[in-house]
């Protein structure tokens, strides 16, 4: 036991044995830590690509749970439940697939394809339609909670205009990041009388951007849209590939693994630097490198970065 205590002292605190600087702050230890991170990056990346059943993105986001959570929120507001629509789910799957293929995180694709094109492409004729997007969440409840915390997305979920809903949950690489993408599409069908009108119009409503959305880092451009679109020619209607909405279960969740390792290293460094400042001041230790406060600020910035990078987002 005293040996362990002595070793921890040597590793973490300024002491005679480590020349009054925690061993983990020595240049050799920092270099080793960098080497460990670089080797781990390549090992994890290789395992993720070649052994997906061992290491991959683990999530439990499923359509049924998303529907239950959404209808629960509507029920709390006295609104009727939405019905799952296979056409809207196909439209959502088409949108998810398009986002991965064209690598964008937005309601409208870089080539100008709006969500409504996918909805029409699925054969769903609507008078009202809306779309909510989410990425980086691992449970259905977290996804719906994030939407409910954002005014525009909440308005979609609690809109009395919609009757039907569809979901797509897909894992893939978006903007260089492996992520779980959730597409939620709302709609209400045109009535037969409207469909036979001489000049049919579609009205699509996308979630409104608010100040609260910006605070919550809703990350892309979104505007209050009340689009009155003329019927589009058939060439605009895209076919919607099928995306399975099943939970993915690798042995180890790669995102949790990397996040926990990174957090572990940064928090350990932060504690060591705080202890170093405290002991150097208390014991009036004289050494070449006297103050570590700038290191502490930098490590704190890295800690904040980890939290920013690993959070989910809605759009």
């Amino acid at each position: 036991m005293p040996k362990i205590k002595k070793f921890l002292h040597h590793l973490l605190l300024p002491h005679e044995s480590n020349n009054h600087k925690a061993k983990l702050l020595h240049h050799s230890s920092l270099a080793l830590l960098i080497l460990f991170l670089l080797v781990s990056t390549f090992v994890i990346s290789y395992t993720e690509k070649n052994y997906q059943e061992v290491l991959g993105i683990d999530h439990s986001v499923v359509s049924e749970q998303l529907l239950t959570e959404t209808n629960l929120r509507r029920q709390e507001q006295g609104l009727p439940p939405l019905t799952m629509s296979s056409e809207l789910s196909n439209a959502a799957a088409g949108k998810a697939s398009d986002m991965f293929t064209n690598n964008y995180w937005a309601h409208t694709s870089p080539n100008g394809t709006t969500p409504w094109v996918f909805i029409r492409g699925s054969g769903y004729e609507y008078i009202f339609a809306g779309e909510n997007l989410a990425r980086g969440f691992t449970t259905s409840q977290d996804v719906v909670n994030a939407w409910m915390a954002s005014e525009g997305h909440r308005a979609n979920i609690l809109s009395g205009n919609y009757k039907d809903i569809g979901f797509a949950i897909s894992v893939g690489e978006l903007n260089g990041e492996e992520t779980v993408l959730v597409v939620q599409m709302f709609g209400s069908r045109t009535s037969p009388s409207m469909a036979s009108d001489t000049k049919p119009v579609d009205v699509a409503v996308a979630p409104a951007k608010t100040e609260k959305d910006q605070e919550q880092e809703v990350s892309d451009e979104q505007e209050i849209k009340e689009l009155v679109l003329e019927k589009q020619p058939d060439k605009d209607i895209v076919q919607t590939p099928k995306v399975e909405s099943v939970a993915n279960k690798p042995l180890v969740d790669s995102r949790s693994l990397t996040k926990n390792i990174a957090l572990g290293i940064v928090i350990l460094l932060f504690i060591i630097l705080v202890l170093d400042i405290y002991f150097v001041e208390r014991k009036q230790i004289i050494r070449a490198f006297k103050h570590n406060l700038d290191h502490l600020i930098f490590v704190f910035v890295i800690l904040a970065l980890i939290l920013i990078i690993t959070r989910g987002g809605v759009l």
Partner: protein, 85 residues
């Protein structure tokens, strides 16, 4: 401790301000991994250069100090690279 803090107030405040700006820019582009990596490298470079300049001004810049800043900066970049890749 407080006397030291007072002596280096401008240095710490400028470091905090630049880091804050960097974090804000990253949070605005939190889903563009290439841009995030570039911003992280820029923050690390600023931290290293600012630290070295600060020690140079106070006439205590040595090779050891230089290596320490480079290593801490490289460690920060490695952690984010590890997380993003």
């Amino acid at each position: 401790m407080f006397a030291k803090l007072k002596k280096h107030t401008a240095y710490y405040l400028s470091l905090l301000a630049m880091s804050g700006i960097g974090l804000y820019l990253i949070s605005l582009n939190s889903f563009d991994s290439e841009l995030r990596m570039v911003l992280v490298i820029m923050i690390a470079f600023f931290y290293i250069l600012w630290g070295l300049l600060h020690h140079h001004v106070h006439h205590d810049l040595t090779a050891k100090v230089m290596i320490e800043y480079v290593l801490i900066g490289a460690l920060g970049i490695s952690i984010v690279f590890f997380l993003l890749e």
